[in-house]
């Protein structure tokens, strides 16, 4: 079992010749400042050799600060080293000339970097030399070349005209019996806009080209210059069914910067809110999988479970998506004994309804036939692409951010300990199994939530720098 300190010592040894080191963003994390951008591929490979994998890439425009540069941060996390995985982040930091931001692309060796680099290219104008697929990602046809909306010099009120554009270069599959089935961006059901080109032979999908970002709303630009309390409301609306996780992610970042200690009771309530959000999404998705397999009973059963849990959300927070429960510094509402009993009852009925639905799915060969070996994601591909969450665990990757990077009350309260559900088959059936197992462990834990002592639920969280 590798300790975070041992991992960081290994990183320092490997990169001492090309970089300087500082602590951060958290006190026990490490930021590695590369002296030359050209050393980036070798440094990333060295981190890979130390058992670290790319978690995310973040770009900031610091042209208006004394640094007068663009900063690109490649955040790595341990992909091996025990269970739970060591909770430490290593950030490769590269500073770029704001007038000519150029970097060697990592995507050929690290597929997980590909979309991050394309996004940084669109929004910040960073050129990634050698990118295997440099097509635009976030900005669509008719966006003026050379204009990058997340640069600070880009006026937030500007609305550039749509320029004449050629058709987007989709990958075309050719051959006898190959059909191209275009779907979207606006769909027949209630799903997020996206354009999908399926190249098929019979029932086999040879290639799927997704094109997303139709609902790119420019939220990052929207929050520029807003006070923390106002920006929180935008962050909470990043995604409808992830209000708690996005809102809490923003709060925890702001609290970390402001040095605010959130009361224990508030951390517990935040964790309960996160689990309730996971729960209604899990059961809703089991229903969505049934819809995808044309199993109408399952669709309705999933929707019914989700609706019951959203009505519980409404009773707890006054909001079916739990918005407004979390707030910078803590939570806005406490859990009364009556509401705690309502949660307990909902946990019991959800567990019962889920078991019934799963049993019907498993005993229905026309359904399982459509779930088995469908949408296969082999474990090595999941790792290479940096897949997280349910999809990763259904491909046999033993990772769970709640366990490996614990926050809120996941680490401090033993009764909230996460049971990580893994299934190695990598198909749709495995993803149903992971969601069902996760639902069961949450409903079991739910009955213990009521026992936490009542205490303060909020600390003042002022805007940093104000």
């Amino acid at each position: 079992m590798a300790s975070p300190a041992a991992i960081l010592e290994g990183v320092r040894e490997r990169l001492a010749a090309v970089a300087s080191f500082e602590a951060g963003p958290r006190p026990d994390d490490l930021t590695v400042r590369l002296r030359r951008a050209g050393d980036l591929p070798a440094a990333a490979a060295a981190l890979g050799g130390a058992g670290l994998a790319l978690a995310t890439v973040a770009v900031t425009d610091d042209e208006a600060t004394p640094d007068r540069d663009l900063k690109v941060r490649y955040v790595f996390e341990p992909a091996a080293g025990g269970t739970p995985l060591p909770d430490v982040f290593v950030t490769l930091l590269v500073a770029l000339d704001p007038d000519r931001p150029e970097l060697p692309s990592l995507s050929a060796d690290l597929p997980a970097a590909s979309w991050h680099e394309r996004e940084a290219s669109d929004l910040f104008g960073v050129a990634f030399a050698g990118h295997p697929d440099p097509r635009p990602l976030v900005v669509h046809d008719g966006w003026p070349r050379g204009l990058h909306p997340l640069r600070k010099r880009f006026d937030a009120s500007a609305r550039p005209p749509v320029e004449p554009a050629e058709e987007f270069p989709h990958l075309v599959v050719e051959g006898e019996g190959v059909f191209e089935v275009p779907v979207g961006p606006i769909h027949a059901g209630i799903i997020e806009p996206g354009h999908f080109r399926f190249s098929t032979v019979g029932e086999s999908v040879l290639n799927l080209e997704p094109r997303l970002f139709y609902t790119h709303r420019g939220l990052e630009k929207r929050v520029e210059g807003l006070p923390v309390a106002d920006a929180f409301h935008v962050a909470e609306r990043t995604c409808g069914v992830c209000s708690v996780s996005h809102g809490l992610g923003f709060c925890e970042a702001a609290e970390q910067i402001a040095g605010v200690e959130v009361p224990r009771r508030a951390r517990v309530l935040r964790t309960i809110a996160l689990e309730l959000e996971r729960l209604y999404n899990h059961v809703g998705d089991v229903g969505n999988v049934a819809a995808g397999a044309s199993y109408h009973y399952g669709t309705s059963a999933g929707l019914r479970m989700k609706e019951a849990l959203q009505q519980l959300n409404d009773a707890l927070a006054g909001h079916r998506f739990l918005r407004g429960l979390v707030t910078p510094g803590g939570v806005r509402l406490d859990l009364t004994a009556e509401l705690a009993r309502a949660i307990e009852a909902a946990m019991a009925s959800t567990a019962e309804a889920l078991d019934s639905l799963v049993e019907r799915i498993e005993n229905n060969p026309t359904v399982t036939d459509r779930l088995d070996a469908t949408g296969l994601l082999p474990s090595e591909d999941a790792v290479a692409l940096g897949v997280t969450g349910v999809a990763a665990r259904a491909s046999g990757v033993d990772r769970d951010a709640r366990r490996d990077h614990p926050h809120a009350a996941y680490a401090s309260e033993r009764w909230l300990a996460v049971a990580v559900a893994i299934d190695g088959d990598g198909d749709v059936h495995a993803r149903v199994n992971v969601r069902a197992s996760s639902t069961r462990s949450t409903t079991r834990a739910g009955s213990a939530w009521t026992s936490s002592p009542r205490r303060a639920t909020r600390t003042a969280c002022s805007s940093p720098g104000r």
Partner: protein, 98 residues
Amino acid sequence: MDVVASPRHADGVLVTGPVTRNLEAAVRRTWEAVPEPRVVIAVGACASSGGVVGRSYASAGGVGEVLPVDVLVPGCPPRPEAIIHGILVAVGRVRPRR
């Protein structure tokens, strides 16, 4: 009431967010494909006015910026009852509340 697979089979469209730059052409074409008479219902604060998203490089604001809107349903998001009410107002089954 039914959610149908094609705008050709629809009597109206519900727009549930701000009209983003990347979706604007598709929103217009979906509306044009709906046979007349047709209704447009803006569901939620962003569809009604742009909401927290506002007008920007990425967003035209509310659906009223690009299509004629019959009914605005407030809320972020509106409750299911409010959406049903808005649809019933749009088809003339209940009177609007002002």
